[in-house]
């Protein structure tokens, strides 16, 4: 039996999961204790097989009221690809106006996941009218 402690990051409770499995970790072999909700078990399995994280960062924007907009991966991506995704996003430049939900970059780092805007900006001349 292999055992591990995993902290679930899906909600502020941050349950400390006691995870145990025989052989290879899978839906069937995995035993999870300490999760206050069912999501904890899926999280534990992901954490053993392929940990996933949401990447949130900012992107330069031209002609906006603000120099930066903020963005995120639309869903969590493989943690192993976060670094690659980060450098791809760093190279991106947006053009104002940009609105919440706009796709800035499709299929980042080959994950199939889009990078979407979480805080947009108006065109600069719209300000102060």
């Amino acid at each position: 039996m292999t055992t591990r402690i995993v902290t679930c990051i899906l909600c502020p409770n941050g349950c400390e999961l006691e995870v145990g499995y025989q052989g290879e970790p899978s839906e069937e072999t995995l035993h999870v204790d300490g999760n206050r909700c069912p999501k904890g078990k899926h999280y534990a399995l992901d954490e053993l097989l392929d940990p996933k994280r949401t990447l949130t960062t900012s992107v330069l924007v031209l002609g906006g009221e603000q120099p930066l907009i903020s963005v995120k991966t639309a869903t969590p991506i493989s943690r192993a690809l976060v670094s690659k995704a980060r450098s791809e996003i760093q190279g991106a430049v947006a053009r104002a106006p940009v609105a919440i939900g706009d796709v800035i970059l499709a299929n980042v780092a080959g994950t199939g996941v889009d990078v979407v805007v979480t805080r947009g900006t108006h065109l600069r001349h719209e300000h102060g009218k």
Partner: protein
Amino acid sequence: MVDSTRETDVVVIGGGPAGLAAATAAANEGADVLLVDRNVQLGGILNQCIHDGFGLHAFGKILTGPEFADRYVREALEAGVTACTDTLVSNLSRNREIICTTSGKRSRIRAKSIVLAMGCRERTRGMIQIPGTRPAGVYTAGMAQWLTNMANIRIGQRVVILGSGDIGLIMARRLTWEGAEVSAVIEKLPYPSGLARNITQCLEDYDIPLYLSHSVSYIHGRDRVEAVTVAKVDEVGEFIRRSEFRIPCDTLLLSVGLIPENELSRQAGIQIDPATSGASVDERYMTNVEGIFSCGNVLHIHDLADWAAEEGDRAGRSAAAFALGGYRSSNAAARVPISAGDGVRYVVPQSADRSTQELLLSFRVTAPRDEATICVNAGDSSLATKKLRRAHPASMVQMSVATDHPFDESGLEVRST
């Protein structure tokens, strides 16, 4: 002196999640609401919190700070709230008048009721007294967050973070993603003060060491920070001799706590609870000054924006009732104190009308425990108990109390054992 005067039902000062929710709730009750914020954009501190983890409680969805703020801004505007951004409130008086300034013009606003939602500010180096020179490169974590996420300014290459509060942890990951090297997070207490999930996803994911029971004893560097000396501390927070080591760095972030921003409240003679540094309020979030309410971080520090907003919602409904005449004021004799007993640092609200039938208590425990039992007692009888798995001073606890008897005249006490 003032260029104009206007009147309204409810004025809400501060457009963060607490103020937005308060304004929306008051407008939905039928009040004319003016929401005033000194920033050009509504949303408060959330605009710079571009990481995710908000909204699970309020919307059942995981959102980033700006997305969470956007939802509240929309709701407020749809409810008919009038927003005055870029407007600083400089005076608040007991008779519910404020003086505010927009692009150099001063105006007076008379309100039937006022909701305070000014948020908090960060503790700074001056407040925690680290010896050494005064070089550039020392920032509060929230300031660093604003510079990085809003202003596109790089703050440094080698970073040490003092304090393991959530903002510091979030910034450790953020700066790592920006290409900086975060050498260490230093925490004076024997346990981290941020959420467990932030220790995992912000430090452990990037192998950033966390030194518990350590502090920064000296800051080196003349023009710019060059290094810090770190040393172990004992149980009473004194440095342990010969435990020092030096960490070279060009930037030191301070994530050493938040304090409610109550300058305006003091002007109006509002009583401040030393345990929270926020106003003392009753069960409807009214301060000792009739018709002035308080909610969110200006009342007590919240770790979750969701809860700040929920409190705003309650305060906003009370303020609307007060302004529109549906408010039954309780006389002093009918009010009983709510106090923090053993193991509890503070409780909000600080008092309640004896005839209250439903009460939401927010409080923090004094020390971390694996298991705790929270008891709400009134005189000799127990009104409610709750078992907590893992109680931690960094996590605010909320508990509802429902009763159909008047509270004992000795008041309520919350204790943790």
